[in-house]
Symmetry: C2
Subunit: 440 residues, 2 copies
């Protein structure tokens, strides 16, 4: 393992010192904004650049204020399913289709090996939930010691993980607040922390020993992604006392992380009715002092298993328009099983749509350029250009060619949806005296 | 053809006379609201019940204020694709998956025969765009006489079509307003009307002879769906002068339809950035005096061909939350080709999600009941109940069984997503002392 930048400090401390890091420079160039603006927002904690010193070949990605909305892809085998090569295939698909980050959520055996393969394959930030590995090494979460909880964070930090979900905000005092919920605790990490706390009658070790967490995170520049262990698991449980009590603790921890020189973002729900999403985002931004907000979905209905990439993309768009910075994708298999490679693609594109639609709605400079190019390509009947501009060119080409497979149709001034006589753009072009000569 | 109710008048005139029609009664029962409330909103034009006197076996559907959001499925062969049996298959799929209405947009030969087959197969309202048939009977739209435009409306009304899209609001004076657009006119009907007007240097015949249209519509109780021939075809063209000029005319025509005792709804865009959708809906409601709003999408980005059911479902949810009443689905094949049966299913479920999420967000009484039942079924690990409650039970079952096919897994307290050791709900149930015994 190579320590690429041992004395660099974190992106947060570097920015605070007034220096524009190479990573901040790269992010600014990528986003087409001034590097000094990135540095300022980094220093204030409103942008994070998850970039572990040990993640070789990382192309840095910025998340937060004034930047395009980013999308994370969750990967990883469960205890019952998948294998290493399958997971690396999913990484390839995620990167090919434009993921901005991946989280390896594997919970079976061989976790170090799988994680190394993912890190090696990934030029984008890699995240984990360390408690999954801690639990994989014992029979029951109650067997874990405080040192076990911290040791796994250290090992993963040394390996090069760029951001880690730690459920440090779920406290003993919060657990009773879930009594009236329909679905209790639906966060894996949250439920495991709850079980540990109840059994040992002790406080959450990531909360109690947060300073030790911060020391590790600062040393390697791991960005903390403070998990919402009490996120709602259904519409009924959304925006309840349990969720907001934990959020309050996350706000306090945000300030402590910043005081410790550690980058931090906050995770959010989950399952939330459409009309509550904007308020949820505004509350997070206020309570957590402007730290980047990383949402899972949120899903706007519970009745669409098999299509939760769509219910999630709807909620994610609203959330991102309201200010969420980072979207964790949801696949069509959510609530039903482990996603395969096709599910990864479907879920990722759905959330790329959400992120992009929000960039346009937020008026981010240049966000609509690609839409405008697509519009012009459509009006010109330039099918190949349309495919190139599509979020998923292969899918667009495939669907077009299903009904009109011969290559001459790539030149035609219509498609099979309307046919030539009824094509409105063909008719409009004629009205405008523009070329409509058809080679079919 | 049987005239089931020859002297009944329209749902509008009946309601105005103070009578609660059988259709209004049925809609009220379906929606769980007072029949008098339905009658009042019908009388005021804020609800329509498309129910042609000649559509036998129609189960009436209400669209508008205070009712659940409805979803329409477009079907119909194009000149290049599909056949009758294929279209009837699509009708079956649409009805099985919960479509509230279908539009037969066929443009090839045998239109009367296809339409009759669709009407016979449909217990839900059937809509058409009559100009498609008019054009199918000549070589070029400019060959149509004014009587041709009206005659096809009469023939379809006599056959039993419940609602018809007429592009009566696109006027000669509006056409110049499209000059700066990137994609000109993208409505098939709108482009055809424009060509006819330009060639003959005459006003839109559906506008000029709107009283004759109203006479036909009133006689058979055809609900007019006033088309937005100048709807934007890309984000760039949204909310422009052309779109809103036509909307103004549609507002005038709404009043004329009501004065003539004819039910009317208004069609809307199209392609609209997320942040403009709510204003679009509010403007329509104001300009068109509260007439029901029937939106196509709207699509919140142009760069996702192959996934426009998702871009459309995102926009449709926002529109419906803001007050749109009726959603025209978009399939994954939009912009690429004619949808097949699978595309119909994908598009319909995406828009059922949008409609339902909006019902929940609008606080419609009871709208969240099914979500709450799903939440309880999830927490109880009652997989079969989850499948039954799903918008698409077959899909949910199929996805679940892909990784855990044996029937005993329908009894298990986990799925392949997390596996038993990591299942948060299993852990939470244990904390609550609830049963978690596993039969696997």
């Amino acid at each position: 393992m190579e320590t690429t930048n041992p004395d660099a400090g974190t992106q947060l401390t570097i920015a605070r010192s007034g220096v524009i890091s190479g990573q901040a420079e790269a992010v600014a160039a990528d986003e087409g904004i001034a590097a000094e603006n990135v540095r300022e927002a980094l220093a204030a904690g409103r942008i994070v650049i998850p970039a572990n010193h040990h993640h070789a070949n990382l192309k840095p990605v910025g998340i937060g204020e004034g930047l395009t909305v980013k999308v994370n892809v969750n990967l990883g085998r469960s205890q019952t399913e998948s294998c290493l090569t399958e997971e690396v295939d999913k990484v390839d698909i995620a990167i090919r289709h434009g993921a901005d980050a991946v989280m390896d959520l594997s919970t079976g055996p061989d976790l170090d090996e799988i994680r190394q393969a993912v890190l090696d394959a990934c030029p984008i930030p890699v995240g984990t939930v360390p408690i999954y590995q801690a639990l994989s090494e014992v029979d029951d979460v109650i067997d874990l010691s405080v040192d076990d909880f911290l040791d796994v964070v250290r090992r993963q930090a040394e390996q090069g993980v760029d951001f880690m979900t730690l459920h440090a905000g779920i406290l003993k005092a919060h657990l009773g607040l879930t009594a009236d919920r329909f679905t209790g605790i639906v966060s894996r990490g949250g439920a495991l922390m709850a079980r540990w706390m109840e059994h040992h009658d002790r406080e959450n070790p990531y909360f109690e020993y947060f300073d030790r967490v911060l020391d590790i995170a600062k040393e390697h520049d791991v960005t903390l992604s403070l998990g919402d262990g009490l996120r709602p698991g259904c519409l009924h449980d959304a925006s309840d006392a349990a969720q907001f009590a934990e959020l309050g603790t996350l706000g306090d921890l945000t300030q402590r992380a910043w005081d410790g020189g550690v980058q931090v973002m906050i995770e959010g729900p989950g399952h939330v009715p459409f009309n509550q999403i904007t308020d949820n985002v505004r509350r997070q931004k206020e309570v957590c002092h402007g730290a980047p907000f990383y949402v899972l979905g949120p899903l706007v209905t519970d009745i669409a298993p098999g299509y939760d990439h769509i219910t999630g993309a709807i909620g994610a768009t609203v959330a991102a328009v309201a200010g969420a910075d980072f979207l964790c994708y949801v696949t069509p298999k959510e609530h039903l099983g482990l996603p395969d490679a096709d599910d990864v693609r479907e879920g990722l594109i759905a959330f790329k749509i959400a992120a992009h639609a929000a960039d346009v709605a937020r008026g981010l400079p240049g966000a609509q350029d690609r839409d405008d190019e697509m519009a012009r390509a459509r009006y010109d009947f330039d099918w190949n250009r349309q495919f190139d501009l599509a979020l998923d060119p292969d899918r667009a080409r495939q669907y077009h060619d299903e009904t009109l497979p011969e290559s001459r149709y790539r030149e035609s001034h219509y498609c099979s949806m309307c046919g030539p006589k009824f094509c409105p753009m063909k008719v409009t072009r004629e009205l405008q005296g523009k070329g409509v000569e058809d080679r079919c």
